[in-house]
Every structure is written in C-alpha cells, then in structure tokens.
Amino acid sequence: MVDGIVITGAGIVSAIGVGKDETLRSLLARRSGLPGGKVGLSDLQMKTILGIPGEETVARSSLLGILAVKEALQEAGISYTGTAVLVSGTTVGGMDITEEHYLEMLGGEHPELFRFHTCGSSTDRIAAYFGGFGSLTTTSTACSSAANSIIFGANLIRSGRFDVVVAGGSECLTRYHTAGFDSLMILDKEPCRPFDASRAGLNLGEGAGFIVLESSAHASSRGARVLGRLDGWGNACDAFHQTASSPDGEGAFLAMTKALEMAGLRPEDIDYINAHGTGTVNNDESESKAMTRLFGGCVPPVSSTKSFTGHTTSASGGIEAVICLLAMEYGFIPANLGWKEPSEGCIKPESEGRSKVFLQHVLCNSFAFGGNDSSLLISNARDYE
C-alpha cells in the first residue's frame, strides 16, 4: 500500500471569489458573500472565460467545477489528465436545466435535455473539458459529497491503483434545493450565524472546490510543490435520522476520531477545526457535542467559513478543504462571522479569526442528510520551525 498522500493543487470558486487569490483576500478582509451565496459570474460569463460556446447547454455545476478543476490542475502543473482520475461530488447535478425545462420536456419539447439531469453527466462534462480523464466517478452523499470524493480518491491512490486523483465537489444554486431547504424551515433570510445563540438556520451558497491528490512518491518524482498532506480521514454514519443530527453527535464524533486515529495524532495535536457549522440549531449543537466529547475542555480554535460562503452543500467539503490549505499556507484562522453571543450547548467559535498563527494539523468537517458524516485531517506541508 502507498504511504503518504499529498496535495499539490487546489482550486476554488464561491460567493467570496473566483480562484484562491480572491478567496484569500475575502477571508482576510472578512468580506462575506451572504446572504445571497451566489458566485458572481453568469453561466455565459463562465463559458466566455472557459472558451465554451455560449449556445452550448452546460449545467452550472459543470461550469463551476471546470473553473475549480482548472485552477487546481494549473497549480499542480498537470496538463495531461488521461491517466488521472476525476472524482466529483454533487447532488444537484443538472437540476438547474431540468427545473427550467421540466414542463416543456414532459410536453415533448426537447426531452433530450434530460440527459443533463444526472450527477454523472455533470462530472462527465467537467472531464470532457480537459480532454477526458482515465477514470472518473461521482459521489452523492448530499452535503458531505466533496469530502467523500476526497476520501475515495485518497483510497484509490493508497491502493496503488492511481498516482493522481483530482477530487472535490461542485454545486450550483437551484430553485429545487432552495425550496427544499425552505420547506424544512432551516433557511435564515439574514446572514447565517454559526454557533451563535441567535442562529436561525443556514444560507445556501454555490461553488466548487477541488484538490489534486498524489502519492507522495509521485509528487516528489516530478518535483511538484506540496501544499499540504492528507494524513487522515474518517467517514461514519450517524444512523439516527434522515435529516436531523443525533443529540450526542455520534456520527461526527466517530468521523473525527477515525481521522485522528488514522493520522496517529492526539486531540491536542489539532490546531484548527473548520466546522461543518451550518448555522442550524440542530447541527451546531450536535457538532459542538461531538467536539466536546473528543477534545474535552480543550477544543481547538473552531470556525465555520459557511459564514462567508453559505452552505455550498455538495461542494462544501472541497471548498472548505481549500480554505484550510489557504489558512495553513498564510498562517491564519478564518473568522466565524456573525457570532456575538454564546449559545447553550455550543462551542465558542473564533468569531474574529486570528492572524500570524502556525497551523500544523487541521480537521475539516462535512456532515450531511442521512448522517453521512466525514472529516478530513490535513497537515501543513512545512513543519513548525
């Protein structure tokens, strides 16, 4: 089995920026993309940037995904993807196209547009932009999809099957899931306030985040710059309720515990947790409980960057992994915007953020409907000096 998985490229697009540079500036300037959560580019603008004909039908999740994958591949210095794997996470897939044309399609007008509906077709289009990948697939575990893509990709490398995997997720805003979350009464019309006493729900967001995973040996043989190491991960099922998290945070606790065990680290080795932190009453309490169970009285600094990007659902694990890489590279802890007042049963997050810190190991949490809970343990490429 292959030892050591490194990250050699990262790409991100969300409501706080297109690309790592703009994202970093927004995080440091505490500039939120809420409550809208929308990426500031229309489909046509993205097609123009990417050189895709304006008249071609492309799911927005594919366009966002292409932007992020392109940035990640460029940073990794990889131009040929024919032997690499693409693992994307999405739930919406091409729902933006389906919901726009559904009634027409049922009436017999352009029913072939249905082929854009599936999650798989969204990933196929991303791969096609780069001339195809050697292999690809799509995870769909709702809000932890991207994190699970990264875990699956890491295992593909660990097993020795592949040297390079581009993994993450992509999701666009649709009426379908906006109305869906609204029907569950967990949307806040104001900017979300993760872990705050007054929190009243989440804001949806959109975007994509992908990282290039490589075996450490492959990265060093080609002299690639290492951004970070994926030292551990955990995937567990809360097995409690279809949409609610358990009061004891069992799934979250198990996911974080597995990640630590795999990396051979102790709780006190973790310098920062990028929380799932959606801003719903239920999630933040359950996640806090899980952190308290694992870390006792010494919970490391925590923030939810969903207070910047909104909840980008299937993309969130990818977007937040890239944010963790930025935090490690530039030595800061992102703020947890909107937090004012401690909430009973919740951890106290880093509301202001911190600068000039060294982050050796961070956890990045992604939890989902169905209790599909995952946690990634990312380590700094450099050691503390």
Partner: protein, 289 residues
C-alpha cells in the same frame, strides 16, 4: 497475507422473478416501453405501519440487503456503499412537479429530504443501526462499478471485514419517456435493486465468487484492449444484460449478480462483465473461488 475479495451473497428484485435464481432457467422475455420490478409481497417483510412510511425503492433495498446479510450471517456490516444512477427519482418528481407548476405552498418536505441520492444508503444504515463507513455513488451506468470499487478499497485499505454493496434504481412513467427521448430504441427501460455482501480473506470456500478486478474506464477507446487483457471464459456485455434486466441504471449490478450466480453454479470459471451503456465503461472481472 494475500487477502482476496469475495462476493458471499447476492440478492435482487428486478424485472425477473425476485429474490431467487429460478428465473435463470427460463428468463422472462422483456417487451414494452418500460417495465417495473416484479415485487415480492412486502407484507411478509414489513409491518403495515413500517410499509406505509417507505417508498418502493427503499423496501426493495431493505429486503435485498437483509437477505444477503442473513445469508452471510452478518448483522451489521463494516461499510454500506450504494450506487444509484437516478437517485430517488419518484420523490424528486413529487417535489419538482408542483415546484415547476408554481405550487410552492404544496411542497412536501418529506419528498425533498427523501430525494437526495444518499437516502437509500442512509436509511439502510439507520434500519441496521450501522455507524460504519457509508457512501453513495451516482455516475450514470457505472454507479454500481463505483460502488463495487469502493467496496474493494474498503476491504483492501480500510480494514473492513464485511461490506454491504447495493445498486438501486426506480423508474416512473415520466422518466421512462424522457429516457426514451435521450436514448431511443433498444430494450425496455426498467428498474432494479441488487444487494451484495462482500468479504475479504485468504480463502472463503462458501463464497459465490472472487472479485478479481473492478475498473471504470472513461476513455472508451481503451475498452477493447482492456477486455482482451482478462482472458475471461465468458464476456457478458450490455446486450445480454439489457435483455435480461432491461435498460436500468443499476443493470450492471444485476449483471454482476447474475455472473456471480453463474460462477457459483459451475457454469463458468470466470466472467468479465463489460458495461458500455453510457459515456464511461465498467469492467468487473469475477473468478470462481
């Protein structure tokens, strides 16, 4: 130690006779634009109250999953991995249709929360009280190959002993019409559920077959060269798969089930299931134990 991956048990509910292998002697000839599964009588599996709360796809997933767990003597697997091409399309339509007709006030939160692709995999976990690894794949025709590959990885790399792998797809009138427009002609569209229990070990004489290799090829030009590399006794392709199970997102899962049972029955010593139904190709190589 040379740990191999085995399929210990497999069960299906499909357009053929469900929950048995008797259909293999005289498979049903498929006709019509689309076909629903032949469902068993679910009253023998669920109380009326349980049954009321469950969609058909979940009932199928539960029944096939329980059957393979029982056959293998496993109560709670170490991992539950699920593939679905279209997800919970019936609940998706139940939410989408009123949304598109402007009936926002009639939207059902239950339909929404049970429309995400991971609904089946997580409901099985909830029913079994299984806190282990849980993932769902949705890559059109190769959703099952993705699932099987992850199952192999869980057994190879993550130390899992037993993995419950499944593929579940359902069809509705509307979706059958839309699919026909997308991919016209050919065998009827269909639906199906298949569950398998996989284990790793040095030797498992009671298993149906060994899973020797699983690959997803995104570059179609590489398929025939790869097929030739396996020297399989029997190569099972889409025309056979679709003639048995119809065109269904989970068809390759049903094909692997059929191939595993054929090997267990001594008909072949190795089978390569080649699936080229979409933009990607799946290859699953099974060998006799």
């Amino acid at each position: 130690m040379n740990r191999k991956v085995y399929i210990r048990a497999a069960a299906q509910i499909s357009v053929q006779e469900p929950l048995c292998e008797d259909w293999m002697l005289d498979p049903k000839q498929l006709s019509g634009p689309f076909l629903h599964c032949i469902d068993p009588d679910y009253r023998q599996f669920f109380s009326p109250m349980q049954a009321r709360r469950m969609g058909l796809m979940f009932k199928r997933a539960m029944v096939t999953s329980r059957k393979v767990l029982e056959a293998s003597g496993v109560e709670c697997p170490d991992a539950i991995i699920t593939g679905t091409a279209l997800g919970c399309i019936e609940n998706t339509e139940r939410f989408l249709d009123p949304l598109c007709r402007g009936g926002e006030e009639t939207l059902s939160p239950t339909a929404f929360m049970q429309s995400t692709h991971n609904t089946v995999g997580s409901m099985v976990a909830i029913a079994l009280g299984c806190h282990g690894y849980n993932c769902t794949y949705s890559q059109d025709g190769v959703s099952f190959e993705s699932t099987l590959l992850d199952a192999v990885l869980q057994l190879e790399c993550e130390g899992a002993g037993n993995v419950l792998a499944g593929a579940h797809d359902e069809i509705t009138d509307n979706v059958a019409r839309l699919m026909e427009a997308t991919e016209p002609g050919g065998y009827p569209f269909s639906e199906g559920s298949v569950a398998m229990l996989l284990s790793a070990g040095e030797s498992l004489p009671d298993a149906l077959c060994e899973v020797s290799d699983v690959r997803i090829l995104s570059r179609r030009e590489a398929v025939e060269e790869a097929v030739a590399g396996y020297s399989a006794e029997y190569v099972m392709r889409n025309d056979v798969t679709f003639s048995l199970f119809g065109r269904c997102g989970s068809a390759s899962g049903l094909a692997v089930y059929a191939a595993a049972e054929m090997i267990a029955a001594g008909r072949y010593s190795s089978v390569l299931v080649v699936n080229e139904s979409g933009s990607n190709a799946g290859l699953v190589f099974l060998k006799k134990v």
